[in-house]
């Protein structure tokens, strides 16, 4: 009887032991499953955050590249027409197709001004009108104002004034009045300025420049040509200066 009992106990013990073992195995499996899930979660978040970081890096790199929607000119660039500054006999000519109402042109204006001062003897700078009338309602009028001032020998003074004060007239419906005030402050004959501003010659001059730009395949401002070759718009003054220096060295 006692032996039977013992046998019964060991059987139960054995069953319990098996149950315990099964429980342990289940727990182990669960733990492994949990670990696996944790690993999967960490991988998911790691990959996603890596993707976000990579995305930001990629976009910053992309943004660093200069805009490249400009096309190369289809006709050779004439280096004589336009308003010139600097040494006319210089071996380096920088041509700009520009729009007085364009913020990027305002930006490059400051660099070009420094360049023309620094390389006054070694470089000639040519300014050509390319008023983007479709998107800048006052651009054509501003170009005419500069031309009208030019008829009284103050093209560059008006050119500087227009760029310096761009934000004051760019979106104004009374830009014409503002330009007359600029003419006054430049000591121009206001009557003549007004006449020239609306004269057929001045209108034609600006329109010719515009048409010439279109025919040359230029579609954006500012567009620069260094010795007849279109250059990518420099992103800093230093970059611009280096380009000019290189051109001067290779032509000396």
């Amino acid at each position: 009887m006692a032996d039977n009992n013992h046998q019964h106990l060991t059987k139960r013990e054995r069953r319990e032991l098996r149950r315990e073992e099964k429980k342990q195995a289940r727990l182990h499996e669960q733990k492994q499953e949990q670990r696996k899930r944790l690993r999967r979660r960490i991988t998911l978040w790691f990959l996603m955050l890596l993707g976000v970081g990579g995305g930001i890096f990629g976009m910053v790199q992309l943004a660093k590249n200069p805009s490249s929607h400009q096309i190369s000119p289809s006709t050779p660039i004439d280096s004589t027409a336009g308003w010139t500054k600097g040494n006319k006999d210089a071996k380096v000519t920088l041509i700009e197709y520009s729009d007085f109402q364009c913020p990027a042109c305002r930006n490059s204006y400051a660099w070009v001004k420094r360049l023309t001062l620094e390389f006054n003897d070694k470089m000639q700078f040519v300014y050509r009108h390319f008023p983007l009338k479709q998107i800048h309602p006052n651009a054509e009028l501003a170009a005419r104002a500069a031309e009208a001032a030019g008829r009284q020998g103050k093209f560059w003074e008006m050119h500087d004034m227009l760029f310096e004060n761009q934000s004051n007239w760019a979106n104004r419906s009374d830009a014409g009045e503002i330009f007359i005030k600029y003419a006054q402050s430049l000591n121009l004959s206001v009557e003549q300025f007004k006449n020239d501003l609306n004269s057929r010659e001045v209108r034609e001059k600006v329109e010719n420049d515009y048409q010439h730009s279109i025919q040359s395949g230029i579609d954006a401002t500012p567009t620069f040509f260094l010795n007849g070759k279109k250059i990518q718009n420099p992103r800093s003054y230093e970059e611009f200066k280096n380009l000019i220096q290189q051109a001067i060295q290779s032509n000396s």
């Binding site: 978040w45 996603m48 995305g55 992309l62 729009d99 998107i135």
Partner: protein, 151 residues
Amino acid sequence: MKSLKTSSSRPFKVIPKSIVLAFLIVSVVGFLDATYLTAKHYLGEVPTCSILEGCEKVLTSSYATLGGVPVALPGAAYYLVIFLSLVAYLDTPRRSILRFVAYLTFLGFLASLGFVYLQLFVLKAICLYCMASAASSIILFGLGICVLKYR
């Protein structure tokens, strides 16, 4: 077995994976677009002016920044929050996360409507990058409505 159990205990319809995937893709597109515009702003490069595009007019307008911060920056943050919330949903599929994202898209939708209005009627110039962001926000809003429909 498990899925049967969940479907019987929950009266909800299952949100199709395609909606979550579309949400993820569109939020990534919006995020990259807004990050690009933010980077452009902080790199200080003034976009060139082109005959057909009015991007520079939009990006240099007074509406492009709020107290010196380009509006693209909160835009990028918005898309990032949506994206990370979706990753969280993939991680632990709780419906409340998707509902949060769906409500959030209302905000993006309203902001985008405002920006599209400014471009079309005030600035009268269109910036393709800004329009791409607006399109992303509108699609996200549509997807948000789809999510809210699955109750």
